[in-house]
């Protein structure tokens, strides 16, 4: 029942404000795609346009080769799970799930079968006669998904369905969603502005920014080869540290850059001739740093805050010239706020961004 989705030259304007500008995207049958971007970048709008809840200013949407943007929402064959779940509060779980099928006059025994199957998959069969008011957040969420499943849609659309849950539940539910996708093999689109969610769920991530699609790629592509400084800073937690570059020198392996407060760093990055050196920065992820002993080479970092995550420890500090840098240490780190530590950075993992934000990566790694 699943199908591919094509978004062709979609534009959305409210009066004079352009919210989405000429978006093109093809989603494969059975793919799990996540729209990721900062708040207000138009993710929900795009999703709701696919669902038919928002009109389209320009462009077309096709599901399984068939143009659907002229159809009413109910006839597009998509199911949506809302951020607030939008369960019908006065109906039981069973009624909530059956409602859509009753509307199109599916036979009663078929409805029962589908509802029971979905309830079993989601482990909510014991909740079928409760109303939403008496369900916990996680259970509501599952009912909302169940309501989508029973319709056997061509595609599932999720609009930040996890943002109402607390951290623990969010982690669990994320896992369940991933398993669900494996089991059903349906096309799914998931909207979020939480990059951890995006990274853990997506086959491909669509990064949206400034009314445009900034990058499309697998989670690893996006994490390791961000196309721009925006993507690099937006994806990854803690965010990538950015150190201003004073001077660049070409070597055979790549370039060696002089970073204020950190001396020279040899990288494996080759820069094209048109590279704009002004305002260029070098980006380093916390996991590409290492706390080393005083004797070894490295940068001196004055620690401001220590975040102990159990399995690892994040050190937020400043270099001698005041530039901020986040370093990582092991979970059993003894570093305290106020300490000065020596940090080595792995030059091959660094990224360079030019003045316009365009990214350049090391050619060595894979």
């Amino acid at each position: 029942m699943s199908a591919s989705i094509s978004i062709k030259n979609i534009t959305k304007r409210y009066d004079s404000v352009t919210v989405l500008d000429d978006i093109n995207l093809h989603i494969e049958d059975g793919e799990f795609v996540v729209f990721l971007g900062p708040s207000g970048c138009g993710k929900s709008t795009l999703l709701r346009m696919i669902a038919g809840l928002e009109s389209i200013t320009d462009g077309a949407i096709e599901i399984g080769e068939k143009r659907i943007d002229t159809l009413p929402p109910g006839q597009r064959g998509v199911a949506m799970v809302f951020q607030s779940y939008a369960l019908y509060p006065h109906m039981t779980t069973r009624q909530n799930m059956a409602f859509g099928l009753e509307n199109v006059k599916v036979a009663q025994d078929e409805i029962d079968r589908r509802v029971n199957d979905a309830a079993k998959i989601l482990e909510i069969d014991h909740l079928l006669d409760r109303k939403p008011g008496r369900l916990s957040g996680g259970q509501r969420q599952r009912v909302a998904i169940g309501r989508a499943i029973v319709k056997e849609p061509k595609a599932f659309l999720f609009d930040e369905p996890l943002s109402n849950l607390d951290a623990a539940l969010r982690g669990r539910t994320r896992l369940e969603l991933a398993q669900l996708h494996q089991r059903l093999g349906s096309t799914m689109i998931f909207v979020t502005h939480d990059q951890v969610e995006a990274m853990t769920l997506a086959d491909r991530i669509v990064i949206m920014h400034n009314q445009k699609i900034e990058q499309i790629g697998t989670p690893m592509e996006i994490y390791q080869y961000p196309v721009s400084r925006f993507v690099a800073e937006f994806v990854g937690s803690p965010p990538m540290s950015m150190l201003p570059i004073n001077h660049i020198e070409k070597t055979t392996d790549g370039v060696t850059v002089e970073v204020s407060g950190a001396g020279t760093v040899a990288t494996a990055i080759t820069l094209p001739p048109e590279f704009k050196a002004k305002d260029a920065v070098i980006g380093i992820r916390a996991e590409d740093t290492e706390v080393v002993s005083e004797q070894e080479d490295g940068l001196d970092l004055t620690i401001k805050v220590v975040e102990r995550l159990g399995d690892r420890t994040l050190l937020y500090g400043t270099l001698i010239d005041g530039t901020e840098l986040i370093a990582e240490d092991s979970g059993r780190s003894k570093v305290k706020a106020g300490d000065m530590v020596r940090v080595a950075i792995s030059p091959h993992a660094a990224h360079i961004f030019d003045g316009t934000g365009l990214a350049h990566h090391s050619q060595l790694e894979v």
Partner: protein
């Protein structure tokens, strides 16, 4: 590629319903238009037949005649004083009580609240005689206070304000408690400002009720300089007043309604937002 555009608007709106409502609206307005028409006609002409409404000439004479009566402005002022006084009184009492019922603990709170709710069902006739007698004792007849007081006992305002106070998140007054705020100051400085839309709603309803009140002013304000507009206008009709002329009556109806219409137009926005509890979230 131009989008053919399916508009999701139709989810909630329905044109046909709207046009039926518009038609009903015409029916709603017809009687008022009729009265306005009558009020603009010469009485003698109307005597020959009310079809005259549909043709020229029109005249403001009926309105002029109302204004010529020197008492009208006094009555108008009385109505204003009574309506405004009653509105403020009801708002104050209801807010105080609503706050206490919604937020404070005191002995017999639930019982008292239920008793107050029973008050909603008491018809005016069941109390009016005793009230009249009581006001004798205190010499309150033919005073503004005497006209204002009785409706202050209405339980509706307390009921409404209690609901509104309940809708305010509890954390707000807890925060204020931690800010060392006295119970009264919490009410006055913190919560009361948050109920402004509710105050507007209750205020308008109270004002309308006071303005249109009839029986109590009739038997309490027995001196003509204490008449409210409603009573005054009724009294200035001769016996079998109707023979005075439909136009004049129509003009009186319009004239007496004018201030409330203005109040309504002025506060209309607040009614809608207030009733829907818009701002208190």
């Amino acid at each position: 590629m131009k989008a053919l555009n399916y508009s999701p608007e139709h989810l909630t709106s329905n044109r046909r319903l709207f046009w039926i409502a518009a038609l009903l609206g015409l029916i709603m307005m017809a009687p008022v238009a009729w009265i306005i028409g009558l009020s603009l006609k010469d009485n003698a002409e109307l005597l020959k037949g009310t079809e005259a409404v549909f043709s020229f000439p029109y005249t403001m004479e009926n309105y002029a005649n109302i204004l010529k009566s020197s008492s009208v402005f006094g009555w108008f002022m009385n109505s204003m004083i009574v309506a405004v006084g009653q509105t403020f009184g009801v708002l104050l009492l209801s807010s105080l009580a609503g706050y206490a019922f919604a937020r404070l603990e005191f002995p017999f709170r639930k019982t008292i609240f239920i008793i107050v709710l029973f008050g909603l069902a008491v018809p005016e006739q069941a109390v009016i005689i005793a009230r009249h007698q009581m006001f004798n004792w205190f010499d309150l007849h033919n005073t503004h206070i005497g006209l204002i007081l009785p409706n202050l006992s209405s339980a509706f305002g307390v009921f409404l304000m209690t609901q509104f106070f309940r809708a305010i998140p509890k954390e707000i007054d807890e925060a204020a408690m931690l800010d060392n705020t006295s119970t009264f100051r919490i009410f006055w400085k913190v919560l009361l400002p948050l109920t402004l839309p509710a105050q507007a709603t209750l205020g308008i309803f109270t004002f309308l009720q006071a303005w249109n009140d009839y029986w109590w002013p009739l038997i309490s304000a027995t001196k003509s300089d204490m008449y409210t507009l409603t009573i005054g206008i009724a009294s200035s009709q001769t016996n079998f007043a109707q023979s005075e002329g439909l136009g004049f009556l129509g003009a009186q109806a319009i004239f007496a309604s004018l201030p409330v219409v203005l109040v309504y137009i002025f506060f209309q926005r607040h009614i809608v937002t207030a009733v829907s509890g818009g701002a208190v979230k």
